[in-house]
Amino acid sequence: MQYRCTVQYIWLQFCEVWPMCHTVWGLVTTAFQTPCKSLTVASSIALARRCSGPLPAPSLGHLLPRPAIAPERRSARRLNHGCLLIAVTPPGHPGELRSPSGCSLYGPGTMTSRVALKVAMRAAGNSPGAAGALGASLSGRGSLWAPVAPAMASVGTSRGQSSPTAVAMEEQVRWVNLKVVRERMKTVSNIGKICKAMKLVAAAKLRGVQSLQQASKKDPTGDKKKQLIIAVTSDRGLCGGVNAVIVKEVKLMMAEDEGRTPTGIMLVGDKGREPMRRVHGDEIVVSFKDVFKAPVTFPQVCMIAEDVLSRSYTDVILVYNRFKSAMEQEPVRKPIVGLSTLLESASVFDEYEFDSDMDSAQVFVDLFEFQLATQLYNALLENATSEQAARMSAMDNASRNSTDMHAKLALTANRVRQAGITTELSEIVAGAASVS
C-alpha cells in the first residue's frame, strides 16, 4: 500500500517533469550504487548539472527527513515518509533566487507548474549558484543543516570570492558534497529499480491487452476465417528443388500469418510430409500419398476435393509449382474463391438464368465444388509436369557429374596400375641384379 502510493506519486511527478528533463532521465538510468530514500527535483537538476558540467553548489533539500507538505498537496494525496518528490516553485525571476526567503516551499502558493519548473531548470542551467540557492531555499526548515545552509547560500551567492573562511567552508562543503552525492545515488538507483519494475508490469499488461486487441480486430469477411493450405509435392525424390521450395513457401505463409488465422495443411504427395511434420506437425490435417503413381485423373481429384469440402474451411490456398518451361518452375500460391465469397458475390450471376429444375443455391454449391476440383486438378497436373521437368534437369546434371567423376577415377586407376607395374618391374630388376 505504502509502495503503491510512493510509486504513484513519483510517477506523477515524473510525468510532469518528463517533457523537459532529459538529463534527469539520464541520471536515473545511470548506475548509481547507494540507495537513497528521497530525491528532489531541484537536487536532481543539480545533479544533472553535475553530470554535464562542474560541480555546482549543493542543495540539501533532500536531506530533510520529513518536510511539511503544503496543505493542498496534503489533501490531494496521502504521502508518507518514503520517497518524496517535492517540486519547487521558484519565483519567476532568476535574480530573485538569491534570497532564500524568496522561495516558500511550504506556503500555500507552492504548486508545481511546468512553467515554474522550466524556469528552475533554466535558472539551474544558467547559474550554478541558483541551484544552490534553490536547494538552500528548500532546506529552509531543516535546523540540522542550518549552520551549513547559510554557508551554502553564501558560497552560492558569492562566487569567485576566495577568502580563507570561504576556502575552509568550501572544504567542508566538499565532504558534505560527497555524502550528498552518495545519498543521491542511492535515491536514483531506487528510482531506477521502481521504474524497471513498472516497465515489466507494463510489458506484461501490454501483452494481455494486445492479444485482446488483435482478437477484437474485425475480419474483412466478417466471420471467423479458417484457411486450408494444400501443398502439392511429389511422391518420389531426385527431382531437384521442387519439393523444397513448396515446403519453404508454406513455412513462409505460416510465418506471415503469425498464427492469426487457424490454418490446416493438407499434403498431396509423399515428399512434403517429413519436412512439414517437423515444423508444422500440428497443422497437418491430412496427407495423400501415391497420388502421382499413375497419371492424375479427374475422378481421383474429385476424391481429394470431396475431402476438402467435408472440412469446414473458409479459404483454400493451393501451393504448387507452376510449369514455366523445362528449365524453369516456380512455386505459386493460388487462393480458391471460398464458397461464402461466391455466395456473396452472387449478383454477378444475376444476369444468368438458372436451370429451373434445381434452385440456384444448390447450383452454386455444385459449381463451387466443380471449380475446386478443376483447379485442384490443374494444380496437380502442373506440379507433376514441374516435377518431371525438374527431375530431368537434375538427373541430367547428375549424369554429367558422374561422367566427370568416372573420367577422374579412370585416370587415378591408371596411375595406380602403372605404379604397381613400376614397382613390380623394379623388384624384378633388383632381383635380377642381385642374382647376376
Binding site: P295, T297, P299, A305, Y352, E353, F354, D355, F370
Partner: protein, 168 residues
C-alpha cells in the same frame, strides 16, 4: 456431387473406347465468330473436344431436360445430367455422351464443361448392358444409404447410355 461426377465419369470411361488425354486446360481466346454462329467450346478436364468452334446449334442434357442453345441465347448456367450433347454444325451432327458437368451460356460464347465425355460411336453396347446389370445388382446388395446412392448414380448413368445408344 463430386462422388456422382466421379462415378459417372468412370462409367463413361469404362464404356468408351478411347481414353481421355491428360492435357492442360488453356485460357480460351475470344475468337471472333460470325454473328449467326454460336461460339462454342466443349471442354473436358483433360483437354478440349472442340475449341472456338463456330456451330449452328448445340443440344445439351440439362437437369430439367434437353436444352437447345442457338446463337444469341440468354445467358444461362445449367447443370448437366448424364446424356448426349449434340453439336450441329454445317448440317453435320456430332453426338457425345457426357457423364455430367456444367453448361455456361455467356453473351459471346458457350462453354460446355463436362467431367467426362466420349463420342457416342465409341460406346460399346455390350459393355453398357453389362453395366446396367451390375448397377442393378449393386443396388440390390446395397447395405447403407451411401452405397445405395452410389449404385443409383451408376444405374442412372448406364441407363442414360443405353437410351442414348437406342436413340442413335
Amino acid at each position: 456431387m463430386l462422388r456422382q461426377v466421379a462415378i459417372r465419369a468412370s462409367a463413361a470411361a469404362r464404356s468408351a473406347a478411347g481414353p481421355a488425354a491428360a492435357a492442360q486446360r488453356r485460357h480460351l481466346a475470344e475468337a471472333a465468330v460470325a454473328a449467326d454462329k454460336l461460339h462454342f467450346n466443349f471442354l473436358l478436364p483433360g483437354g478440349a473436344i472442340q475449341k472456338d468452334a463456330a456451330v449452328d446449334m448445340v443440344l445439351v442434357p440439362a437437369s430439367s431436360g434437353v436444352m437447345g442453345i442457338l446463337p444469341r441465347h440468354a445467358p444461362t448456367v445449367a447443370q448437366l445430367r448424364p446424356g448426349v450433347v449434340e453439336v450441329h454444325a454445317d448440317g453435320a451432327k456430332e453426338k457425345y455422351f457426357v457423364s455430367s458437368g456444367f453448361a455456361f451460356v455467356h453473351k459471346e460464347r458457350t462453354d460446355v464443361c463436362a467431367v467426362a465425355a466420349a463420342p457416342l460411336a465409341d460406346l460399346d453396347a455390350a459393355a453398357v448392358t453389362q453395366g446396367v446389370a451390375d448397377a442393378q445388382a449393386a443396388m440390390a446388395a446395397a447395405k447403407n444409404d451411401t452405397e445405395k446412392a452410389e449404385a443409383q448414380i451408376g444405374l442412372d448413368t448406364y441407363t442414360a447410355m443405353r437410351s442414348a445408344l437406342a436413340m442413335a
